[in-house]
Symmetry: C2
Subunit: 483 residues, 2 copies
């Protein structure tokens, strides 16, 4: 028998004023937001799909203040929504509508605690913005490799809580792989200090890995010790027209095996996605006249000089041309050209706006299943509704596709909206028929919570609920999210 | 308040014969060992430090049989000790002495289920011997990189349950990093099928990471999906005399930053450890006449030709010589010479036997703390007992030292034995004073269980015990181990 979902414990505080006063004593009056104007930015998510309500938004400045707030909330049965940079895509950091909760924003926990160059680690507060962490590393000649679109606003704590991915996972792994230790405040306000800078530490259960990706449902991550890497000496970027998806998959293997430079990015772009961007960016149309339906953006990073790195890339592409995996290629000749190639990839999400309503999916598949998934799903979608087009791009080197559906004309936006549910069902059914996952890097949050028990076995859901119940028995941490 | 340790639930079965009969019905009479002779190999650990007793040793052949056995044991309150290749070093797979338990050996779960070349993954039963997994990968031109001394006997399930490390962690990570998905039988006999071949999958808590390193205390891992890598085209190996430990630490950084080839091994060897080996191996004495106290064995793997890889290594060593980090170096000129250099490192554990009683420590430290740890601990140990010598070697690139103590003469073995407790305490105190861990890669098992609560905070121990209680409420899985 599977455990039921955690109980939503919505109870109105008997004395709200007294509770707010206690919060003010803990973190200072100016950091307890109770007015609609002060709270509003924290109550709606970045994509504006989710809006909630809260008793107050609390902005503690350090771990001890977070601990005192959680102890208070635990005592008073006030539920807590942790929030970092508020850039999540599944509503995981947006409170529910009942308003009997507090949002705890970690953005004032923004200190870099320690840079240990010999250990290649950085220890920092959870509220540090990702870009600031990258810059702190670069300033001492090191690389912190996590990189994603929201890096100017998202925080390290949010990156950890959602196990963020991005464009360099292929080489450096996701946030879980980059983290050696964390500090967490538990739902009862205790501080678990697991800030270790160790590459090996087999001393009991890996609590760190449990909190990473838990989306704030087990506690609040307040600090972390992260790995740093040497800065690559050179990067070379190419845009390549591939014969078909399967040829792209073969090219990944060839790229890994034929060059010693590190394959740091391998992004698939469908022709329709490329055309969207080309319309807007007349100066960046390499390959857009090519006959292929699929493009790959690939990048090698190397500790060698650029000329050697470039020779390797050219040899790879010549080989791929001979094997008829690719039909055409553009290699960037300057940093500016490389940026131009990347901007094609990076402009796609925004370029989709002109298509009207776009139904998005963040999916992952075994790399060996991608080609058959793409082919089979295209056929089935057109059977469902012929006026649909697919916009496909993503980190195919990690098996991660952003698989998006738009109407053939923006006028059909209302019609696709009415089909959203059946489209999602079809795509996710196809994903699971191909041994994939319906959330590769964005998480579950609110938006996928109801579907999670349908996509996992009762045993797996039961195990997760047992853990939630053990570590947050009152279900005060981010209720209504994930489980 | 910290949760107490799980209760040891030693109850004698009312009807042992009936229980054994049920086991025989599930897995066949011939695979239920009840005689002393049949059981004995499973009741003593590899190092012969731990011996226990068991009602029976059970050898199921597949996941369903494991599940049926666990359901039966759960019903009858019989405790379970999971065992793989029985090569662990902390007694984690050896039963307690009471004998009211069963050993479940996984070695008959030995099928390779699937090789997915395009996805670079292998899915296999937990009882597959590590070397067989390496060979299955090599046969299709791929590398499964986990490599350690016991690889001819240890199993994938044991490697996962102890999060095994070994000599290539620096490049490829430990077993946790190499695992994409697992299949587990829970203490109630349910099967959690998490055999996914996905590089990205953010759908709730990472159960996989909880079972990895749990030493069989939460369930039995029955299968796994593991990552494969391209086989390197060339390897170059060198033995280098370094100025001191600190110079070795600087050499790690230099090696990472100055060459694009992958640094796959960086092993520190103290002069005393080298001398031990040299005495036995007259033909392998490179650098033994050098003035230094410390040697490093390093290896680069590359997808480039050997000549290029060798040029890079030579350039690195010239640079290190100019910077006065190293004083002498030997580069292997053939595969045989490379094997000879490696055999120096690999012969150390056995060569220690001539020293009499050796007290061993498997510790890890932040790399930046290694030099000061080594210096400070040496002084303190000599203050404690001047007739002691240190034998130090290990995977220093991961911060992992095998830090061993022997008497100056084997005659003093009894005397060092009487000091074992105070020596352990001193070394572990020093490890924690330098932000390290007292178990880098071997785990906790029986041998370090009592010390674990002294080395971790009450909060951390409390969290672990809560998880154990949630997932194994009757404490039937490997009781008396880890927690």
């Amino acid at each position: 028998m599977v455990l039921p979902p955690p109980i939503l414990n919505v109870t109105k505080l008997e004395n709200e004023n007294e509770f707010i006063k206690r919060c003010q004593e803990i973190i200072g009056t100016e950091y307890v937001y109770t007015s609609v104007a002060d709270k509003s930015a924290f109550l709606t998510d970045w994509s504006k799909r989710f809006t909630g309500n809260a008793l107050a938004v609390l902005r503690p400045k350090n771990t001890n203040e977070v601990a005192a707030l959680l102890a208070l909330c635990n005592k008073e049965n006030v539920t807590i929504v942790p929030q970092g940079g508020n850039t999540g895509l599944c509503g995981g950091a947006t409170p529910g509508k009942d308003g009997h909760n507090v949002v705890i924003s970690t953005t004032r926990l923004n200190q870099i605690r320690e840079l240990d160059l010999e250990n290649s680690t950085i220890t920092l507060d959870a509220g540090v913005v990702l870009m600031n962490a990258q810059e702190a590393a670069a300033k001492v000649g090191k690389l912190f490799p996590l990189s994603l679109a929201a890096e100017g606003s998202c925080t390290i704590g949010g990156n950890l809580s959602t196990n963020a991915g991005g464009v360099q996972v292929l080489r450096y792994g996701n946030m879980r792989d980059l983290c050696l230790g964390i500090e967490v405040v538990t739902p009862t306000g205790e501080i678990f200090n697991g800030l270790r800078g160790l590459r090996k530490d087999n001393t009991g259960y890996s609590l760190k890995d449990l909190y990473i990706g838990a989306e704030g449902s087990l506690g609040i991550i307040t600090a972390a010790t992260l790995k740093l890497y040497p800065l690559p000496q050179s990067k070379v970027t190419a845009l390549v027209a591939i014969k078909d998806v399967q040829a792209g998959i073969k090219l990944i293997d060839l790229a890994r095996e034929s060059s010693n430079a590190d394959l740091t990015a391998f992004e698939l772009i469908s022709k329709r996605a490329l055309r969207l961007v080309s319309k807007q960016r007349i100066n960046s149309e390499p390959l857009s006249s090519s006959q292929t339906d699929w493009i790959v953006l690939l990048e090698f990073s190397s500790m060698d000089e650029e000329s050697y790195n470039r020779d390797c890339l050219e040899a790879l592409l010549e080989n791929a041309l001979e094997l008829e995996l690719i039909s055409d290629a553009v290699i960037a000749n300057s940093i500016q050209q490389s940026k131009d190639l990347w901007s094609i990839r990076e402009s796609i999400p925004e370029a989709q706006f002109e298509l009207g309503t776009v139904i998005k999916h963040d999916i992952s598949l075994p790399i060996s299943q991608i080609a058959s998934f793409v082919e089979a799903t295209e056929v089935k979608l057109h059977q469902l509704w012929p006026q649909m087009q697919t916009i496909i791009f993503g980190h195919v080197g990690d098996g991660n596709l952003h698989y998006n559906l738009a109407p053939l004309s923006p006028d059909l936006s209302d019609e696709i909206e009415t089909r959203r549910k059946s489209i999602n069902q079809l795509v996710h059914d196809q994903v699971y028929a191909h041994a994939g996952s319906f959330s590769a890097e964005h998480g579950i949050g609110q938006s996928k919570r109801d579907e999670l028990p349908l996509r996992k076995s009762d045993v797996e859901i039961g195990l997760m609920r047992s853990i939630k119940k053990a570590l947050d028995p009152k279900n005060i941490m981010n209720p209504g999210k994930v489980l």
